[in-house]
Subunit: 340 residues, 2 copies
DNA sequence: TTGTAGGCGTTATCAT
DNA sequence: ATGATAACGCCTACAA
């Protein structure tokens, strides 16, 4: 039978209240007794009971704030699904979610949302913009006792509690590895990134190109274009690129805008000789994979990211568990397993 | 604030006990009142509170039995890790695990273990052998009110509660898809299966070969050998196969014995021209992938299988949630993401 | 058939 | 500084 606070209390001849105060560092206990209780807890291998904690926590009405740059970005749909799954589970603990979404990457807007939320939440999950102003606001939150968990995109020098998202560098390396296998290690590559202003996109390119150098010396990057995460721009830029470099035999799509890039490849009439590898399992990617243009996609479990972030937040509030980073695995999708 | 039994009781002017009896179908309630309570619960959107249930369930001391054919099979190490993770989480609910492992696929031995466990557990998780005798024993369990969940390998016509494991057919299709991409859709293939006596192995081969027919008509299966899940046999059989069919340009390893197959490929001196695709992320597979022999592996989240099975079992016992099948996704691993 | 009361483990409040 | 008690939501034995 598992050890309870009650048992420890009996063994130490003190009340349950005292044991609780010791084990949760609430003070107001004589050092001597505190030491005894701690020792006994250790000896008996005490492990706090989640269900009990959960029940007691209901009275606290915790609120977790969530701010996402998700408006109009398909990728976040799955993140939100994961968040809602987490929400269901923590509802039993009396923990509520307060979700706000924003369009684009304007630090000003994000700051405003953070300000507005500050007195309403006990913890913030933030899809942060990597700017100094945001970093400082996060520091302010942390100082004021409101922990911040970054999701999907980390914010440098922010002192956030933990990061939940993908390793963009590893993602790029995996994309490179697939292309190496598909091409027999020989390719002239065009890269279609989102924008050079987003850290994660650059990290993917970096991972991709270092892998090429290390393992596939005959895979060369000929050109890099920006889609600005937009299909139309992706289409136009890709058309131009394919004109500039008729020898291109592979394209790595780093971020959004895949549909535009693929349309350009299809219309060029060179689809059969151009290997396209994309990122994320979105509707567009699935569609163009089914058309035979995209051969493989590297995905990072967006559902799991949302779910994990909420879980970690709740665990921190209820059980006082300091969370660790969650780095999503790189999932490789091809036509045969894209719908799973 | 979430709705509780207490609230429903007040609204209906009955006691909490009555509401509990209605909502859990325990009988001994006038139909009239039962209807009223149900209506009110529906109206208020009552959702039972996990924590409360969990706490009350502790007094019951549930035991979940687990029987695995895991002795000496590396694949199950990860399944067990998942089981242990689940064990940690359900410990709070007072649910205990009773795990037994066996070597090989002897129905007799499995029957003995099932018999021995019968009066000790309230639910059984079984890595079942697909034989009639086992199916009947499972039926007997179910009849006697001890639900059975099959894990990793299903048992036909057993009437088990649910199945947690992989879709072997889809696994084979995915392996075929990868090989299609790696080979440009043109290959002469040797298949190294475990044994034709195991259903799952045959299903993988079936999925693989139907995919070839559908999508890659120029991928032909030249030969099928059996490793009997053994490295030595795998080595010998592969050597013979490579002699018989010098034109072989790809090998699909369906089950265990990968190390033997790979050694034969390496020693043949034809490693550069033979594309090897394997199954499961085991130490052997990782090792031979790093040596450059295995190009890709299709895996089925063994950790998740163990974890999910335990979760479903506990949810059934505590919350009375009838579980659904869990079919693991097909994860494609290449050198760049095999260690994640 | 229905209600009451106590307990599961933890925490907060109030009294000492 | 410490103890006693009630409460969180659910379940069950027992009383009515």
């Amino acid at each position: 039978m598992a050890v309870t606070i009650k048992q420890i209390a009996e063994e130490c001849n003190v009340s349950r209240g005292t044991v609780d105060r010791v084990l949760n560092n609430r003070g107001r206990v004589r050092d001597e007794i505190a030491a005894l209780v701690r020792e006994k807890a250790e000896e008996l291998g005490y492990r706090p009971n989640m269900a009990g904690k959960a029940l007691a926590a209901r009275k606290k009405n915790y609120v977790i704030g969530i701010i996402l740059t998700s408006e109009g970005v398909e990728f976040f749909d799955e993140v939100l699904n994961g968040i809602h799954k987490g929400q269901e589970e923590i509802a039993d603990y009396g923990v509520t979610l307060l979700v706000r979404s924003m369009k684009g990457y304007h630090a000003e807007r994000q700051l405003a949302l953070m300000e507005e939320m500050k007195d309403k939440v006990q913890l913030l999950i933030l899809n942060g913009i990597n700017e100094e102003r945001i970093a400082q606001k996060i520091q302010e939150y942390m100082r004021d006792g409101i922990p911040v968990i970054t999701i999907n995109a980390d914010v440098e020098n922010s002192g956030r509690l933990c990061y939940v998202g993908c390793d963009f560098n590893a993602s790029g390396r995996t994309a490179g590895g697939i292309l190496g296998l598909l091409s027999g290690g020989r390719a002239t590559i065009g890269i279609a990134t989102g924008t050079v202003k987003v850290l994660g996109h650059n990290q993917r390119i970096h991972g991709f190109s270092s892998l090429c150098k290390e393992r596939y010396p005959r895979m060369k990057i000929a050109d890099i274009i920006e889609t600005n995460d937009d299909d139309e721009a992706g289409y136009e830029q890709t058309c131009l690129m394919l004109k500039r470099y008729p020898e291109i035999s592979a394209i790595y799509i780093v971020a959004a805008g895949a549909a535009g890039v693929c349309r350009a490849v299809e219309e060029s009439g060179r689809a059969a000789s151009i290997l396209v590898v994309a990122s994320d399992n979105t509707n567009s990617v699935r569609e163009w994979m089914k058309k035979g243009i995209i051969r493989a996609a590297v995905c990072q479990n967006p559902y799991g990211q949302g779910y994990r972030a909420v879980q970690r937040a709740a665990d921190y509030l209820i059980q006082n568990i300091t969370p660790t980073d969650y780095i999503a695995k790189n999932e490789i999708r091809i036509l045969e397993n894209i719908d799973e």
